[in-house]
């Protein structure tokens, strides 16, 4: 349902420090699928999320939703149409709510913007149902200010908001990173339930284990470039790209002592990364297994790797 093709974002405020936040990224999200974008901070994963949500304009590339290139249509009505189907939840729940209003204002805005014809009472009932379905007591949250609620409650409210719109795709940007451990699992489980209902999800995270836990497919990003993507199981069990490998190895393992880790053989790709004779431009993706892709660089013919 969502196809991202050759998406790039360059911030060029200064010619010397021209930053390519996102470089030629392509992937797709199918209906009912959870796709995780995984990478360290600065890898461009949030920028991709923002571009999908049309909060940031891409420098080049296309974002197709239902076969329509949404980067080309920016009229208010088409935007609204898009937001009916694609919604987001952000990292910091406390800043996502305007501190001077009550939290249920977010529902009132939805009512005003998307369902102006619905009667207030009917709407209220739908809001309460949605809140209940994300595990919140309507009475406890309605009328409260955001500083009076917990982060978990706030994120649930935002999920309930997406439910009310009957969104098809949810862009979840680090939504549990600021929650404490006990609420994290609740929110994660809630997301799982959402998938059961047919909601697709783009899950943006720096947390490998989360990505592993929740997603069907993963995309690993490094400095704005996709380095490896594929089926979650495949990628996690057999990471091919040197960056993915180091990322996975950096996760402490409970079963093996640090110094007992087996030495990692250098891969062909790793060698290519550091060889000056190899292409410094954006790598191309090469399929190396069933639903398993990896970024490779082209080297000059005869280069010794």
């Amino acid at each position: 349902m969502l196809q991202v093709e050759g998406l790039s974002k360059t911030y060029n405020k200064s010619s010397r420090a021209r930053v390519r936040a996102v470089n030629n990224v392509s992937f797709s999200v199918e209906k009912g699928q959870i796709v995780s974008l995984i990478g360290e901070s600065g890898s461009g994963k949030s920028t991709i999320g923002n571009m999908v949500l049309q909060l940031t304009k891409p420098s080049s590339g296309r974002i197709l939703f239902g076969n329509q290139d949404i980067t080309r249509q920016r009229s208010r009505s088409s935007l609204k149409e898009y937001y009916r189907k694609v919604q987001g939840v952000f990292q910091d729940p406390f800043s996502t709510f305007n501190p001077i209003f009550r939290v249920d204002r977010v529902f009132a805005i939805l009512h005003r913007e998307f369902f102006p014809n619905e009667a207030a009472e009917a709407w209220q009932q739908r809001v309460e149902a949605a809140l209940l379905s994300v595990g919140l007591t309507p009475a406890a949250v309605c009328g409260a200010y955001c500083h009076q609620l917990s982060g978990g409650q706030l994120q649930r409210i935002l999920i309930a908001r997406a439910l009310l719109l009957e969104a098809e795709l949810l862009v979840a940007d680090e939504i549990i990173s600021m929650l404490d451990a006990s609420t994290r699992i609740d929110v994660l489980n809630l997301l799982g339930e959402m998938r059961e209902r047919g909601l697709s999800m783009m899950f943006v995270t720096h947390d490998l284990s989360l990505g592993y836990y929740i997603s069907d497919r993963v995309i690993i990003l490094y400095k704005g470039v996709m380095v490896e993507s594929g089926n979650t199981q495949t990628v996690f069990s057999d990471p091919q790209h040197p960056y993915s490998r180091s990322l996975l190895e950096a996760v402490p393992r409970l079963d093996v002592r640090w110094d007992e880790l087996p030495p990692r053989p250098a891969s062909r790709h790793e060698a290519a990364m550091f060889n000056p004779d190899c292409d410094k431009g954006s790598p191309r993706m090469e399929q190396i297994g069933e639903d398993h892709w990896i970024a490779v660089r082209d080297c000059l013919p005869g280069t010794e790797l």
Binding site: Y11, K13, S14, S15, R16, A17, V19, T56
Partner: protein, 328 residues
């Protein structure tokens, strides 16, 4: 970086161009007729005025179509020709402005820079000592709130007329003509004290208050807390806070330096100090658009110059600015 600077330069040039165009337009939007004013200055004899009017109209280029007047203005501007004054006819604007400019600059630049340095120092001091803060801060508020000219007049009256300590008019004694001698410089400085003081004191308060607030903010910033938690001496923490607090102050300084030319208009009037402000005050009341235009040009140049300088300087002083050029 090069692109950043060239883009800045482009924006500044554009602003300058628009500003001087508006500057040109302003007199032309006036209903009256400056040549009439000039004639009434030059002659009260009716006999020759019609002829004179035609002559002067031609001389000032008023008989040409508006657009070619504008082109002429731009062309003359590139040659440093700002036209001819009306109330000081036949002096050229360039001659008047260049004669007055040094007086304004020597008065206001030291006053602004010194009040900036001293104000920042006092502000930083106040931020450190609660007692000082509570006693001196209200005084600064009052100082900043005092109208320049009222303070000037009180100073002139008290120190000039009553105590006879300082002269109250002119840039140097009426018993002198300028000469490159020590006694002249001393005389010049003696006249400089009162007008300088009246600008210095009023500005001092503003800088001090600003610095105090900024430092208090900075001292509460995370990096300060972290430094303190690391056991860094207070002195070091304050020094870092001071460095950061200085930056917004410098921006303010750029703006102040920009209005340096006319900033002291009231002070110059009160003390009869022969700078641009005094000329401008006369030109405004005498509707001498050409002199007003010339004086404004100086303001435009100063504001833009100072801002540009600070913009560029920031790249070197403040790593955050360098960084912010990158982020969106």
């Amino acid at each position: 970086m090069k692109k950043y600077i060239s883009r800045k330069i482009f924006m500044y040039l554009l602003t300058f161009f628009v500003a001087i165009s508006i500057n040109w337009l302003i007199p032309r939007m006036m209903p009256g007729d400056p040549i009439l004013n000039l004639i009434s200055k030059l002659s009260r004899q009716a006999t020759n005025n019609a002829r004179l009017y035609a002559e002067l109209n031609q001389k000032f280029g008023m008989d040409k179509p508006l657009f070619s007047q504008y082109l002429l203005y731009l062309k003359n501007l590139t040659q440093g020709d700002l036209g001819q004054s009306i109330i000081f006819y036949p002096k050229t604007v360039a001659a008047i402005v260049s004669k007055a400019l040094p007086y304004s600059l020597t008065l206001t630049i030291p006053a602004i820079l010194l009040s900036f340095l001293v104000g920042n120092y006092l502000g930083a001091l106040a931020a450190r000592k609660k007692m000082l803060d509570n006693t001196v801060l209200p005084f600064w508020y009052v100082l900043t709130a005092t109208p320049y000219l009222w303070l000037s007049m009180l100073l002139a009256w008290l120190l000039g007329s009553k105590l006879n300590l300082f002269p109250i008019s002119g840039a140097y004694s009426f018993s002198r003509l300028p000469s490159a001698t020590l006694s002249f410089v001393l005389d010049y400085l003696h006249h400089w004290v009162l007008p300088f003081a009246s600008i210095f004191f009023v500005q001092l308060g503003g800088w001090a208050i600003g610095m105090r607030n900024l430092i208090i903010y900075e001292l509460d910033a995370d990096y300060s807390k972290y430094l303190r938690a690391l056991g860094a001496p207070d002195k070091l923490v304050r020094r870092y806070a001071y460095r950061n607090a200085r930056l917004p102050q410098i921006t303010g300084l750029a703006v102040q330096l920009g209005v340096v030319v006319v900033g002291a208009i009231t002070t110059e009037v009160v003390f009869g100090y022969p700078g641009i402000g005094l000329i401008l005050a006369q030109a405004i009341l005498g509707q001498d658009y050409f002199v007003v235009q010339g004086a404004f040009l100086m303001v435009v140049l100063c504001v833009l110059g100072a801002n540009f300088f600070i913009d560029i300087a920031y790249i070197f002083i403040d790593p955050r600015v360098r960084h912010s050029m990158i982020g969106d």
